[in-house]
């Protein structure tokens, strides 16, 4: 934004200059003779030639890479061969999960390598702190690239800025030398870390369950169960409406929350292939009958007045607050909602999550089909001085003890499959674990939101679903619009494209 403030200054100069002085500069130009002109152009040439080489060496950095630390000896205790005296730098996103869990993990690292100096920092400004360091070729060794200032993963991968984490995945796990790290992870984690090809660039540490969140108490008061078919869903909403309660609300200003329940519903109705085709930006992927059926189902909620009035003007916090107050029954969301809404949720709310409601018994996948995926993407930069150190730190975090520590402290699951025994789970977390058990193998993992951010949020979310759920566009129009957006993205050569493997 630096150039912006420069513009104001420049133009303000024009603004406040007094009328009288303007003529003088004009006259000055006519006073330059031919010799002066030649002199000036030579001078300009002299300046501009070195300028061009200097230019490329400024904001985009020189690209002088830092020296890599020498590899240490690989032992059973140190399978990644970490140099036990090399410093390690870890930058964490300081968000909803706080930084305590990472500090605890750093302490374990320091204990294992007493000779190594660990520099740990936590910030919300990931991009503004780290983008220059990537440009200079001196990034830290481990980064939690998360939050509003997340650096675009596709670009980082495309520009070969990340280290392949396969050695970490193939290393023995922290708790059991007989099991590889990759076999201790929850479904989808390894796959999510891939972009194209076999390399795994990202390790998502937190594990998020997406779905329809509701109050068990409110459902009980209606004398209803969570609906499994769409007819039941409409019946529950009708019943709620009679009691003056809306069926649904959602983050109207950020309608890209709707896919949290809509996409797995599409997957349930039409099968996994439909979602894969959408992610792969295949032609006419959105025109699949399953997509149409699910869009129409959601549109029906709006048309029948089952969506809380005013929802399109609410942001995520406002919609969650309305839902917590009991103005609406269901909200599509992720498992962070328990933490985020903690201070507005009544104690007896009975927070629960369910896999999305399907259409009917002809759906391809059984009820319980759920979207769950990793959050908090950890990466080790390609130009890190101590990449094995960064990976070792991750290996420590993926131990049962660290995972349990995380779950206990921040009420969220981790990528480590398990780690919930022996700690008391909050209601939302407990129902998340239960929903994962019901889902079993039927966990879907749509990738649009990490592959094509603009397409997912702005185009499909705000312009497509947002307009439809506000009642300003029909499902048919919306599908046509979204298909056009997807085709546009598929054709755009400035975007890197990915495919499901």
């Amino acid at each position: 934004m630096g150039s912006n403030s420069a513009e104001y200054d420049g133009a303000r100069e024009h603004g406040v200059r007094e009328p009288g002085t303007r003529d003088r500069t004009g006259r000055g130009a006519t006073g330059v003779g031919r010799r002066g002109l030649i002199k000036r152009s030579v001078a300009l040439g002299l300046i501009s030639v070195p300028t061009m080489s200097f230019l490329s060496a400024c904001a985009s950095g020189g690209g002088d890479d830092q020296d890599k630390a020498e590899a240490g000896k690989k032992t059973a205790k140190n399978p990644l061969g970490v140099n036990d005296t090399a410093p390690m730098e870890f930058v964490l996103f300081d968000g909803g999960f706080g930084k305590e869990y990472a500090e605890d993990a750093v302490a374990v690292y320091e204990k294992a390598f007493p000779g190594a100096k660990v520099k740990f920092s936590a910030t919300q400004k990931i991009q503004s702190t780290l983008q220059p360091r990537f440009n200079q070729g001196t990034p830290p060794d481990l980064i939690d690239n998360s939050g509003a200032e997340q650096m675009d993963m596709g670009t980082l991968v495309g520009k070969k800025q990340l280290t392949d984490l396969t050695p970490l995945l193939d290393a023995p796990s922290y708790d059991d030398p007989g099991t590889k790290v990759r076999d201790t992870l929850r479904p989808g984690i390894v796959e999510m870390g891939r972009f194209d090809g076999e390399q795994v660039w990202i390790l998502y540490y937190a594990y998020t369950v997406y779905g329809v969140w509701y109050s068990q108490k409110a459902l009980d008061s209606l004398d209803e169960q969570y609906p499994e078919t769409w007819d039941q869903m409409l019946a529950v909403c009708a019943k709620a409406k009679k009691k003056g309660m809306a069926g649904w609300t959602y983050a109207g200003k950020y309608p890209y929350y709707l896919p949290f329940s809509l996409y797995p519903m599409i997957g349930k109705v039409g099968g996994r292939e439909v979602l894969d085709a959408i992610d792969n930006l295949e032609p006419n992927a959105w025109k699949h009958p399953a997509v149409k059926a699910c869009f129409e189902a959601y549109y029906e909620l709006q048309q029948k007045g089952y969506v809380l009035k005013g929802t399109p003007g609410l942001d995520h916090i406002q919609s969650q607050t309305a839902w917590a107050k009991g103005d609406a029954l269901f909200i599509p969301n992720g498992s962070w909602v328990e933490n985020e809404s903690a201070n507005v949720l009544p104690d007896d709310f009975g927070l629960a999550v369910s896999a999305p409601t399907g259409l009917d018994s002809s759906d391809k996948l059984p009820f319980g089909t759920l979207w769950a995926s990793g959050g908090e993407p950890f990466v080790v930069p390609a130009k890190a001085a101590n990449a094995p150190g960064g990976m070792e730190q991750l290996r420590i975090m993926l131990s049962e003890a660290s995972s349990k520590n995380f779950t206990g402290k921040v009420k969220s699951l981790t990528a480590y499959n398990g780690g919930t025994d022996g700690i008391e789970l909050t209601p939302g977390l407990k129902s998340g674990v239960a929903a994962l058990e019901v889902a079993g193998e039927n966990v879907v993992n749509p990738r649009l939101q990490d592959w094509y951010v603009q397409l997912q949020k702005e185009k499909i979310g705000v312009s497509g679903l947002g307009e439809m759920m506000a009642g300003r566009a029909t499902p048919a129009e919306t599908i046509k619009k979204i298909q056009a957006f997807a085709d546009e993205t598929a054709k755009d050569s400035s975007i890197k494209h990915y495919k499901h493997q």
């Binding site: 985009s60 520009k159 951010v453």
Partner: protein, 308 residues
């Protein structure tokens, strides 16, 4: 003397000009240079791509939408803000009824208080103002719709920021609200320097308040108005519109691209999509728009300067 003069001037100007070149001109040159590359902003290697970014920009529907909205901001927001500020400052300084025993020219009753009240929003940062209005525009429990319900207009419950036809106006209103106070103070200062005897002469000639304003106050205040106009236009093209659109609107930039502006698009391309080069291309377009705006206003506003 002629010879030494330039050396003398250069001696004084070298440091400020150097700073200006380094921190103002240099970033301009750089961003223009980057607009011809495919720099992502996330890695030090990039290549020259010629005019590819510019061609892409001309085909980009979102760019055109953002340009249209930015132009609307630059034209409408200053007109409304300055008209409102002129009216308010005239009433505060000149528009009052003549009171027995008081000065010949004075503002309306309580004008000292109004001056402070109008300036109040200026004390708040634009981010806070935007956040406050985001709450006020909440269709469910926000102040505006609650007020409408309270006065019996329960049937009129607009979605405000959620409605593509209203969102842009709602955002503009916030900028006007937050900046009008500054101009009231600016114009008040300008009016204070207009000699009183001119007003007295006008009064003796039987001029009413409207005539006084258009024939006397406005011409004598023209320079201030013109500077204010350019300043406001640039604010509306740049920082203020970015802050309110980014904080308040759906998406941000929506619903359905109804509030996206050029600065927001620059930001999204550079920091969300990792396309820094394309972002600088839009930045160059924004620079041209800003310069053109300033040039047009200065050109249209050129008048004889009045000495008084």
């Amino acid at each position: 003397m002629q010879h030494g003069k330039y050396r003398f001037i250069v001696g004084f100007l070298a440091v400020p000009l150097g700073l200006y070149a380094l921190f103002v001109v240099w970033p301009f040159v750089q961003s223009i240079y980057y607009s011809f590359t495919d720099w992502t902003g996330l890695s030090p290697d990039f290549e020259m791509v010629g005019f590819a970014n510019y061609e892409r920009m001309l085909d980009d529907g979102i760019f055109w939408k953002s340009l249209r909205h930015s132009l609307l901001f630059a034209l409408l927001v200053p007109v409304v803000t300055i008209a409102l500020a002129l009216f308010l400052s005239f009433m505060i300084n000149v528009g009052g009824r003549r009171r027995r025993g008081g000065p010949v020219i004075s503002g309306v009753r309580g004008s000292a208080l109004y001056k402070i009240v109008y300036f109040f929003p200026q004390v708040l940062s634009i981010a806070i103002v935007a956040l406050l209005f985001a709450f006020a525009y909440n269709p469910d429990s926000g102040a505006i719709n609650s007020f409408l319900r309270a006065v019996g207009l329960g049937g009129v419950q607009p979605l405000w920021l959620g409605d593509p036809d209203l969102a842009l106006w709602a955002v503009m209103a916030v900028i006007v609200w937050s900046t009008v106070g500054f101009f009231v103070v600016l114009f008040s200062a300008g009016m204070a320097s207009i000699p009183l005897d001119l007003y007295e002469a006008a009064l003796l000639d039987g001029a009413n308040r409207i005539t006084t304003f258009f024939r006397l106050t406005l011409p004598l205040l023209w320079d201030t108005v013109q500077s204010g106009w350019v300043y406001m236009g640039i604010l509306a093209l740049g920082a203020e519109s970015f802050a309110v659109v980014h904080i308040m609107t759906t998406g941000p930039g929506g619903p359905d691209y109804s509030t996206t502006v050029m600065v927001l698009y620059v930001y999204q391309k550079a920091f969300r999509d990792g396309q820094a080069a394309y972002a600088t291309t839009i930045g160059v377009a924004l620079l041209l728009v800003t310069l053109a705006f300033a040039a047009v206003v200065m050109r249209l506003g050129r008048r004889e300067r009045l000495e008084y």
